[in-house]
Symmetry: C2
Subunit: 248 residues, 2 copies
């Protein structure tokens, strides 16, 4: 962006705010990593740390929104620059929500640590979390670089996250049906998988912002979504329903 | 607000945007009402209508954010006015998310309509939805009137919503344990209850904004939360855990 024209006061302001976005992104990445680590190792101390750190993410979001508003008030940006600065508010909002989901994983970890462990496929949750983390890192890099190609790739990869969620959903259902004593733990694990799936949606939303900023066009609203499982009648688990989305 | 000083251009702009907020609020109230109605009457047509109407809510949110940014750019508001205009962006974001939850209820309705009905306590979901609807109406009224008392009352009432969610959670768990064929439907019903509970959180957030706008102080961060159930070890259902919150 800055190589397209001589750097203006607005550009400098925007870059400062974007630096805060990257800082916030780092904290959120950390929250996801530690949230999932606390779950996998049943470590309540790390979970507690994630819960506490969320306040820092929230206050950074607040700060970014106020800086953005100050820049708008001070610079009275043109339509294109206004779009840029509004994207900052949206992205900080996405990051804040991803942080909330990480905090929720940490909270459920604290609960699960006191429950009888079930023989669930913990590797699948780990893989899902890793994918979400790398998506977030790429999304923030491509935002700063205004890279449409990477952004479109992230939007496509989100389908893998949706499919991973679908598999886990089926798996937890079977665990619940096998033994009612698994129901409570599986409800929490299912919520954790759902949290990761929702993180993917917010990362996708960041990438869609990048595409919009660069091309001026919204990515296809009807992009394929792979979160189909919830529309099937699970107890049979063999019914073939038409693929539909159940995302919000 | 407008009786405190002669109405300025900024005040007129703000009032126009607030009118859009009220319009958006009306659409969201409608979405909740119809979403729950479609669930209770197993009416897929109404559910489809709710899903379609969500696009109007989303585009109104977009429009409000852009208007707010234009006003900031045009009027270069003072710190206090800036806080007012930023609250518009936050509240439209809260409303958009409540609309998303209503849409999700409608989507799950479409699924549940094809499942074997279970003997769940549909009255409880109806009561919970009614409470959420009246909270939303009060929250929007108290926002326009800058009424701290009503706002604080809403923040307190949200605890009832949390308690209703807790009761439903327990109820669905017992249904699942009684008969594994209930698991799939109960997962959807549980998500619907969770959606209503999350709506309550967003309405509370609107009320907290009002308190902040009027008093300049954030409501107590450590307000009591009644979403305690998820931290207990449900299968026993008789364990007494210390009340903690599991909200994001």
């Amino acid at each position: 962006m800055t190589d397209q024209h001589i750097q203006s006061a607005f550009d400098r302001d925007l870059e400062e705010i974007q630096a805060d976005i990257m800082k916030m992104g780092g904290l959120v990445e950390d929250a996801i990593r530690k949230g999932v680590e606390s779950l996998l190792t049943r470590n309540e101390e790390i979970a507690e740390e994630v819960r506490k750190n969320d306040a820092r993410i929230d206050s950074l979001a607040e700060q970014i929104n106020e800086s953005a508003a100050r820049v708008i008030a001070l610079r009275a940006p043109t339509a294109v620059d206004l779009r840029l600065i509004l994207s900052v508010i949206k992205i900080s909002n996405n990051l804040e929500r991803i942080g909330d989901y990480a905090k929720n994983i940490a909270k459920r970890t604290t609960v699960l640590a006191h429950m009888r462990p079930i023989d669930e496929n913990i590797g699948a949750l780990r893989r899902m979390a890793s994918l979400v983390q790398s998506m977030l890192k790429d999304a923030l890099d491509s935002y700063v670089q205004r890279d449409v190609e990477i952004s479109e790739n992230i939007i496509a990869v989100d389908q893998d996250v949706d499919q991973m969620y679908n598999s886990l959903f089926r798996e937890y259902l079977t665990f619940m049906m096998e033994d009612p004593r698994n129901i409570s733990a599986c409800m929490h694990l299912h919520f954790i998988a759902k949290n990761l799936e929702r993180m993917g949606d917010h990362i996708t939303s960041i990438s869609e912002q990048v595409v919009y900023l660069v091309t001026g066009e919204r990515p296809d609203e009807n992009r394929p979504k792979a979160d189909t499982i919830s529309l099937e009648n699970h107890p049979q688990l063999n019914e073939t329903s038409p693929p539909k989305s159940l995302g919000t």
